[in-house]
């Protein structure tokens, strides 16, 4: 019997809207003659899809709040609607909306303006919904792939650009390979439980003890796939190449949405499915965190391409996030949630400045391209400064809050060594972020005219800039949100 209850519908609605708007964008583009100039209205439709989805998310939140925060399950236990899901879905939706705002002008400049772009962004967001909301391995897997395949195409969206081609190819080959590993792990979990839900997995894990070979094999392969998605070392190597080659707007989206959704999944898998197997995965995560911090921060030091530098820094951020999971207490998990929230705004903001400064003919990508920004465009320079300070984790910017929590969590759980390592790398990261600052404020440059930024870019910059400052100065409501998302 096919059933589709009201609860199912209620849970699914945001994703349903995203999917429908995505299809609508494709159809409308097809139905209307190509010679309608501009096609800015397609962006409008895509954004309204995100807004509707966001509104539904808000309704879901209200419903949960009214009913004592008891999670809803739907589709025979395939989806769970809890605050966790709403929180992370919210981050992905916001990042998608910001990316939409800046994409129009960017694509026009690249002469690759197609409706497919907006549809794919919506579909990627759609996929992320199932990654975040799903507790059934099949649902998660399909959602993950929907997002990943959308991203493969988005990364290669500049078809005439060799670097975009290359980035897409690399991402696709490694992504396909890592998917194979992830699903191999899932197949083993299925073998252990005879069921595809994470809850079933959780119920067999405790009985299996710490030296269970099959479970360990499953954990290792699954983690390989998941750490690949969040861009943690040593599975990070696609990230710098892909981030550099992809269209800048997509890089921003990839760096935020994909990482957030995958991290939510990692948390779900570890906290729900494998919470009993902590001794088995904790050393692995610790190793990945330390490696990510080391490789990300050290490799970023001497980069001259800003996108690539931000890619390495995002690897380092993955390391901090993993440290939050490793710390293993509430503080650490709240730290992870708030870190991801702040990370979304500051990262998109930093990429946004690059998009906004894009010149005709050549992209603004190297550190030298930002030279003397403080004199050419003081407001951009100031905004970039705020984002960079935030990425480095200097109070009172948003980036500090997440790092603060994670360090505190490490100190609380007595992992002093990791805390020291993390703090030292904060100092290192200051060095390379400030290389950019130096370039912006000290260096003379050959004046080059930039295009006037579109209103969308201005709006997105205002949002990210204000959010980065506001979360740093008034973090309390955001912390409460993050804590609530974890049911604390």
């Amino acid at each position: 019997m096919i059933t589709y209850s009201a609860t199912d519908h209620f849970i699914l609605l945001p994703a349903l809207l995203l999917g429908m708007f995505g299809i609508a964008v494709l159809l409308l583009d097809f139905l209307f003659p190509k010679d309608i100039k501009g096609r800015g209205w397609l962006v409008g439709i895509a954004i309204s899809g995100l807004v509707f989805a966001g509104w539904q998310l808000w309704e879901q939140h209200r419903y949960l709040a009214e009913h004592g925060m008891t999670p809803l399950t739907g589709f025979n236990g395939a989806l769970v609607l809890d605050n966790f899901a709403i929180f992370f879905n919210g981050i992905v939706l916001v990042s998608a909306a910001l990316v939409m705002l800046i994409s129009y002008r960017y694509l026009e400049n690249e002469h690759e303006h197609h409706a497919e772009y907006y549809a794919l962004v919506l579909f990627a967001t759609f996929g992320a919904f199932f990654i975040i909301t799903g507790v059934d391995m099949v649902t998660i897997f399909i959602g993950l792939e929907t997002m990943a395949v959308s991203f493969y195409v988005l990364v290669g969206f500049l078809r005439g650009d060799k670097r975009s081609n290359e980035a897409a190819m690399k991402y696709l080959l490694l992504g396909g390979f890592s998917t194979g590993l992830l699903i191999y792990g899932f197949s083993i979990f299925y073998g252990l439980t005879g069921s595809t839900t994470l809850i079933a997995l959780a119920s067999v894990v405790p009985a299996r003890g710490p030296h269970d070979p099959l479970l360990y094999l499953g954990i290792v392969t699954t983690l390989a796939g998941l750490l690949f998605k969040i861009g943690a070392a040593p599975f990070h190597m696609w990230a710098p190449d892909t981030y550099e080659g992809a269209p800048t707007t997509v890089t921003a989206f990839l760096a935020v949405a994909s990482k957030t959704a995958s991290f939510a999944l990692l948390l779900r898998v570890l906290a729900v499915g494998l919470s009993g197997a902590r001794p088995q995965w904790e050393p692995l995560l610790t190793g990945a965190a330390v490696l990510s911090l080391t490789i990300g921060n050290l490799a970023a030091i001497t980069q001259s391409n800003v996108k690539r530098m931000l890619a390495y820094s995002s690897i380092a951020h993955a390391g901090y996030l993993l440290l939050g999971v490793v710390a293993g207490n509430d503080t650490g998990l709240i730290g992870v949630a708030i870190y991801l929230l702040t990370y979304a705004f500051m990262t998109i903001g930093a990429f946004l400045v690059l998009v906004a400064l894009r010149r005709k003919g050549a992209a603004v990508e190297t550190i030298d391209d930002l030279a003397a920004l403080s004199r050419r465009y003081p407001s951009y320079a100031l905004l970039m400064l705020v984002f960079l300070l935030s990425l480095a984790g200097i109070p009172p910017t948003a980036g500090f809050i997440g790092k603060y929590y994670i360090f505190l969590a490490l100190v609380e759980s007595g992992k002093y060594g990791l805390a020291i390592l993390g703090a030292l790398y904060v100092a290192v990261s200051l060095y390379y972020y400030f290389r950019l600052v130096r370039s912006m404020f000290f260096v003379e440059s050959t004046e080059a005219q930039v295009l006037a930024p579109s209103n969308g870019v201005r709006l997105a910059l205002a949002i990210t800039g204000m959010a980065t400052v506001a979360m740093g100065v008034l973090p309390e409501p955001f912390i409460r949100m993050a804590a609530a998302s974890l049911g604390r």
């Binding site: 391995m137 290669g156 290359e166 897409a168 190819m169 080959l173 390979f177 191999y184 197949s187 190449d241």
Partner: protein, 100 residues
């Protein structure tokens, strides 16, 4: 007597051969084929476990894996064509504009 061990062994072998292809073949088309092999290895696993637990859940899972394999192959080949058009080559180790 054929037990689940045999199936898991076949699956692991396919996985390793697929990985070998991914790691060593220069031709990107063949690398994509190797990824198909890996996904098939997973399917063998799933079917075997499905039988072992005497249910069809694993088979349903396998259908989804096939769907994913199809999607990945289609997009992979599309990207490959775009790459070929610009570069005139499908050798994996010649794709190295982005590095360090």
């Amino acid at each position: 007597m054929i037990t689940i061990n045999h199936y898991l062994a076949v699956s692991a072998t396919l996985l390793l051969i697929g990985t070998l292809g991914v790691l060593t073949r220069r031709n990107i088309v063949v690398i994509l084929m190797s990824i198909e092999l890996i996904l098939n290895a997973v399917n063998v696993n799933l079917i075997a476990f499905s039988k072992y637990h005497n249910q069809v859940t694993g088979q349903v899972f396998a259908i989804f894996v096939i769907a994913v394999a199809v999607a990945e192959a289609a997009v992979g080949l599309g990207v490959l064509i775009a790459l070929f058009r610009n570069k005139g080559s499908v050798q994996a180790d010649e794709v190295d504009l982005l590095k360090w």
